[in-house]
Symmetry: C2
Subunit: 579 residues, 2 copies
Amino acid sequence: MPILQPIVNMAELLHQKGITDVLVSPGSRSAPLTLAVVRHPALRVRVMADERAAGFVALGIAQQTGRPVAVICTSGSAVYNLAPAVVEAFFQQIPLLLLTADRPHEWLHQQDGQTIHQPGLFGHHVKRSYDLPADYTHADSRWFIERSVNEAIDLAQFSPAGPVHINVPLREPFYPTAGESFTAGPVRTIDTLRAEPGLPTDSWHRLLQEWDRHDRILIAVGQLPPNPALRHMLAKISEEFGVPVVGEIISNLADNGLFITHTDTLLANLNESVAETLQPDLLITIGNSFLTRNMKTFFRRYPARHHWHIDPVLDRINDSFQSLTTRVQASPLAFFEKLFSDLDYQRFLQGDDDDGSTMFLQTWQAADRRAAQLVFRSLRQPEDRLTDWQATQHVLANLPEGSVLHLANSMPVRYANLCGLSEQQQIDVWANRGVSGIDGCLSTAVGAALATDKLVTLLIGDVAFFYDRNGLWSAPVPPNLRIFLLNNDAGHIFRIIDGPGQQPELEPYFETPHGYTARRTAEDAGVTYQICRTATELTSLLPDFLQPGTQAKLLEISTDKLVNQQQFEAYRATLRQAD
Amino acid sequence: MPILQPIVNMAELLHQKGITDVLVSPGSRSAPLTLAVVRHPALRVRVMADERAAGFVALGIAQQTGRPVAVICTSGSAVYNLAPAVVEAFFQQIPLLLLTADRPHEWLHQQDGQTIHQPGLFGHHVKRSYDLPADYTHADSRWFIERSVNEAIDLAQFSPAGPVHINVPLREPFYPTAGESFTAGPVRTIDTLRAEPGLPTDSWHRLLQEWDRHDRILIAVGQLPPNPALRHMLAKISEEFGVPVVGEIISNLADNGLFITHTDTLLANLNESVAETLQPDLLITIGNSFLTRNMKTFFRRYPARHHWHIDPVLDRINDSFQSLTTRVQASPLAFFEKLFSDLDYQRFLQGDDDDGSTMFLQTWQAADRRAAQLVFRSLRQPEDRLTDWQATQHVLANLPEGSVLHLANSMPVRYANLCGLSEQQQIDVWANRGVSGIDGCLSTAVGAALATDKLVTLLIGDVAFFYDRNGLWSAPVPPNLRIFLLNNDAGHIFRIIDGPGQQPELEPYFETPHGYTARRTAEDAGVTYQICRTATELTSLLPDFLQPGTQAKLLEISTDKLVNQQQFEAYRATLRQAD
């Protein structure tokens, strides 16, 4: 058997276990892995020199496809450059398979290049870490490798999905000799037939009884990948049973006249008497993290008497509102489907067509409409001066139907959340809210655009953009990517939030103005570049910019940080008055 | 006491324990740390948005100053972006103090932003990891913080120096209120009086006896920071006792007519009979890693009967030549000073003015001269076509006396090693050979230029340059930096080394051509940009380019990868003939 055969077989195993996409960063130690995946006819392999960008591109692909993406890098500090994407994938529950080449461990601390402690390098931030043997000759070693790869790919996908690390120590030779066979032999895949979690009947009884005891029931939705069936079911429950469904832009619950979406404005500066009219008795939460402080603060300050969290994973108690009373092991969709049908049947038995208790929903909806109007008024600018927030509103309102929206941290996702989207637009919304870093937002959007034929629009600030500009380097930028760069020449969030704005160090040590525009970066990357400074310009550029085309495009929206600040402060002043 | 007082005091403690430089990446959670160091009158604080670049800039400053540099970043994936620099510092033994802001640990896995498992995040790649309490109010907590910071700064500097991590969980408020005092109270520094390791007399007896028993004694020097006293002592030993001192460009032992410096060429393709004339009986090694495979292979294939490694640290057995017999706990300088004086005294007692055994040294020196001539011949190009290697030779020959040279991985340091430097130039040579990554070579040179008034020249390839271009972003580029960018539009090393050059995947999956020039990157960064394509152009540009000035400069040397390859293959063919 050729010495590299187990590595060649590994590529075949990736394929048979359903992996379709691989990200490779060049290296010599990793060459056997690279050749194995490149020579496999069914794997799509993309190359990026900067491992940090490669990791986030892989994350973006995995978000779109729902399948684990394999990431290959060489030994040494290369592996650490993957870590920012790994930790985001871990908390965002996105499956990645990290294949890191390594020197055999006997070379550690022997002054050899690119030799670090790789096994377990990602610590708590992978679901598991495997360390393959450096010697493949023994049959038991080959058994271990095959079994581990099977297990790792399963594990990456099992809920909660996440990154899994396979460290691959490799000895020379790294390359097949001329004429040496380099095709996969037979591999053994191990299938897994998974049970679905189903609550026993007495648990459902208890839940239904508890439901019946409450008049003010509310469903709060954290970050959720796009899920039309769940959205549909939540709308039915809201409508039929008068239950407010409260979300943020990252919940993928766009405005349908029913859902409560202007939560950041609605829940700001509430006085106690208003807050009490909004306080639920029974709170049901689903999804991952919540975006805004106002959302979290409201549910912490006005806790529900009962709070159910619906999650198929029982690993840890997630009590972010500090009010949790019941954990329900179920997928949100399955849970609400069963709940709806049980409630509906119960109502049928009771001959009760309408339970009449839509007051609570109406209170929330009225507050939501007031919040939407307040945002609308705040966005009217007397002159043609363009702010980040206004630009966001323009962009969101003009997104092509059925396209994909990526929202970068830190201000773009917040501005977009203030604006909202409407259901008719059918926009899929993504944001790196696993750990909310700015470090890979551009690369993640590049990955998304590589994995879908839809138009992918990224809304990003200047610090996040330049931080991650290697996402545009060393691989063709996909033509369906549209970047809106809100360039206020600063880490603008520090001026907006309380605290740093009052310190004399604001500009040099927090905002760090840099004077960059993206023109040269875009030119280097072969990305069409345009710039605008007024609302009129933006409006006239948008329709053409958002057309499909053969080249990625970047529209730099140049704004003044002081004007941005004025607008936001005026908005906050209005909130205080409204209170 | 103001709630942030222990953080303010920490800045004073950094100062009192000798820290002068701090790198800050902006963040909100880390604001108390940022304000504390910025408001301290004696700390020089620099700001860089990209933590990866900030970490390497800190490394470059610490290399120059020999003092730990403090690095401050916010919580979440920001911390992981420091890791590439941390692991390089760990293996290169450079002191860093990593102050990472964190959320209090009760927020972990509670869907809160930027909250990851930070304590112990750097695993085996820091000397120690501290985790401060989130609550400072108890006197014992304040005692723990003060003691830990004292200990951490000591530890970072103790041999082997290296990075130390202090994780700093912080609760709001992060900013002092108007009028709140923000000056350091009294802090307690704990001094440490360290013993110097001194070998007992009987150990010296044993070493001297062993020395006397050998005719063919050789000193091989791995990577060493510039150390004129040690260089002087090694020259005396070589001359007086006929001992070859064998090094590479990263050993900081430039050509003085005595040292053996063309080792990569000299030791290539040795036939057995020649190799045996060069094989030592007693090998003495000092320093960190060796650069070239030829060096390592020679000493592994022709091991000395006795091999001493001189190192003050006994932590691990470093046996990179696989021939070690004796570890001697001593600093190289102290060891060779004592050895020289003992040998000299012994010779005086024996009335022996000259021990006559310079044959071995002469054999090595003759081989070194032949190697130098071979390199000289290989560098003659018939036309005016410029190669990476030739350009390196030009640059090295023209460096200003007493300047600092940074050599990037992967090819520049190898080309420079083939060329060598002469002692009269008094060049300090640095390269990130701890783990030999390309990820921070530019930022490290930026750090060096910030920390010295000397001219700092960086020789770097295109992949390493663009990978790390954020080293030029968001902080003024120091005017004493000169960048020579060898741009062959590819990861050129893959074409040069055996293996990938023979694979059809070479260009798309290893070299990854990108078509970038550095013009736009330099313009964005306010760095003067020039480009040249021929030896004549380079020669005419060099004198002015290397003058001091008010702005950093970048000279892009555009070369053809095929011409580079031809030249290198001709060199290797000559080596095979020479054999």
